[in-house]
Symmetry: C2
Subunit: 400 residues, 2 copies
């Protein structure tokens, strides 16, 4: 089923490119819908294109356990990120239905329309609509790289904005998402399953260093105000400070811009980005405050100056303790090794968690690779993930 | 005269852009020629467009003291780099002629066609032709940014390749060049004149660091092979090592390229350039050998690898000791403060020095700025430079 979905959006340049509201995206959503309908699930598309497949509960008909993930991919992505969560959810519920008959509570799969923000500069469109927090005003001016507006792309497939006066559905009593880890912690620690306790908060900054451009031959070392030398001291300091703080704190200098960026000129300007994440907001605050004091000192010491600008902040999101316990017990019942861990990446679960008791499962990513055609998870781990999800859903939907 | 030359090639975007074999370049060369002719100098264009103005010697008619610099500029350059050397040479000789009559040896100004390599990727075209070492084969395939070939540009103004079977002229017994410093050593040390003892050798390298690209959120610090962190350690090490070696060694990291260069990906690849210079080749060799051993160690320590590639090497060029002494004595006679120094930048003098006893004078550059519309030297220093040059030429051409 994963490889079948992968046919919709196969990219000649490698991997999958399945952007929101494209023909291949609609084919994939329709395919997911058909599979579920064929298995007897009740099919529903919502206004914006999320697809739901429900198995009705016999007793608590106004209580629904939802499970799923997103159908869209990044450009040249893999066949697991998002898609595995949808397939696993369907297979788990289908398995339960065949093994145990109808549940007491409704069991429902969701194939969320969008999470990556790859076509339009807006992420989590699917889960934000599910939670009735997506706003028309935030997307109606968006245009993709080809000049197509968000609204035209959406309307072209018969979808439309949700009626914002209608509140979020109130039947959801639990949400579970299973996803590839996208890191190599499980692989390194040889664990079969990751139980996610929290999704890390993150902050991103531009850090600019101002020095003075000079001739590389005629300016003695002692007379330089070299922005790149200052930047290097800062990057070292930050990387070492993050190592010293220890896991799960991470700090990444991912992007560097130097001016004038020619071999024979002492650089007068350098910009680097800092992306730092931790599941505890207090630790993140302490870390950034601490390093920014030191960056100022380094700049001054090197006769340069620094400007720090935050351009992104996402608060950490804790998973629901009862749901976490259910997932742990599911691992134990199945006899699978697992690790309690946080997610360093953002997921639909972090949008849904404030509204519905939510938890997440990870399966190992080979070499930690994701967002790449080389994304891979062993079939054995895919199966164990589905069995763990099934066991958890069984506990949630089949008992009083 | 400087501001008059500056009218040829005034760039709407700022400063001067006077590239080889452009209309404005020809206007400037013609203007220099007319001025010299009007003052009674014997005018000569050579095949490729160097302009010479000679005052004949009365006694040693087969001995010529040459002085001058280049007429071309970089894009958006200043009005001093090169041009000042031509104007100063003319004014110095004209002054001597009026004060002391005809010299014993020929005195000759040269306005060299090209030094910067800004239009075509070939520098020192003027002085290399003067020394009969320019080769047709090295330029005939060159094309400028607009697609004009070197040959067409040259021919369009009536110039042509030198006959390579004819050896270099054999009348030159001395060459002096006066130039702006392009650094801030003289300004910092409050000296009026720089007497150049050597032109630094230089080597340029690309240093590539290979690590592993990873997700910024899901890869713990300890599992990273971060090319940017490794690069920072290397840049720090190099900068500190250069400071420790002390003047006149310089080492510049001018250019950085990071891949994939996005905020939320641990960079798997980084490239930086190293430009290092010293007037003593042995010191330069020792320095680069020493740091490259250490760069390998740093790469290994950080679980990354490094590849170092040299793409440019220029040997140091020593100025002639007798000519240096003449310049020093000229400073002393005039009562001007001076500093014996090396040049970190390349100049026509380094091409001519192997063939003719050569030395150079510097005048201070305000704030060390050059290759910029803000290039500036106080008129007082320009005058003192001319007087020093005149005194040196007097000693060289008016005595037995």
């Amino acid at each position: 089923m994963l490889t079948k979905i992968a046919e919709f959006g196969k990219d000649p340049a490698g991997g999958e490119t399945r952007f929101l509201y494209t023909a291949e995206w609609l084919q994939a959503q329709n395919f997911v819908g058909e599979i579920m309908q064929a298995a007897g699930f009740e099919l529903k598309f919502d206004d914006i294109g999320n697809v739901y497949g429900r198995v009705h509960g016999m007793k608590y008909t106004d209580e629904t356990i939802l499970t799923g993930s997103h159908i869209d991919t990044v450009r040249n992505g893999g066949i697991y990120d998002g898609q595995y969560g949808i397939v696993a959810s369907f297979l788990a519920i289908n398995y339960l239905k065949e093994m145990h008959g109808d549940p007491l509570r409704n069991l429902e799969v969701v194939s969320l329309a969008e999470e990556e923000g790859s076509r339009f500069l807006y992420a989590f469109w699917g889960s934000k609509n599910l939670c009735a927090i997506a706003k028309k005003e935030n997307v109606e001016k968006l245009v993709d790289a080809n000049g197509t507006t968000f609204v035209n792309a959406m309307n072209s497939h018969g979808f439309r904005f949700r009626d914002e006066s209608i509140p979020m559905r109130n039947d959801l009593v639990g949400f579970l998402e299973i996803h590839i880890e996208q890191g190599k912690v499980l692989e390194t620690e040889k664990k079969e399953i990751g139980v996610v306790s929290a999704i890390a908060g993150q902050r991103r900054f531009n850090i600019e260093v101002f020095g003075e451009s000079n001739h590389a031959g005629t300016t003695p070392m002692g007379l330089r105000r070299d922005a790149v030398h200052t930047m290097s001291l800062m990057i070292n300091y930050i990387s070492n400070a993050a190592l010293k703080y220890g896991d799960p704190l991470v700090a990444t200098i991912g992007k560097i811009v130097v001016q004038p960026n020619v071999a024979n000129v002492v650089p007068g300007y350098a910009l680097f980005t800092l992306d730092t994440r931790h599941p505890d907001e207090k630790v993140l605050s302490a870390f950034t405050s601490e390093i920014f004091v030191e960056l100022e000192k380094i700049a001054t010491l090197r006769n340069t100056s620094v400007k720090i600008e935050k351009w992104m902040e996402a608060l950490p999101v804790q998973m629901n303790k009862t749901m976490i316990a259910t997932l742990e017990n599911a691992c134990k019942t199945n006899g699978f090794s697992y690790k309690m861990m946080h997610s360093g990446a953002g997921h639909d679960s972090m949008i849904i968690a404030p509204f519905v008791p939510t938890a997440m499962l990870f399966v190992p990513s080979a070499k930690g690779i994701s967002h790449s055609p080389e994304e891979f998870t062993e079939i054995e781990y895919l199966d164990k993930g589905i069995l763990t999800l099934a066991e958890a859903l069984y506990r949630l939907a089949y008992f009083d």
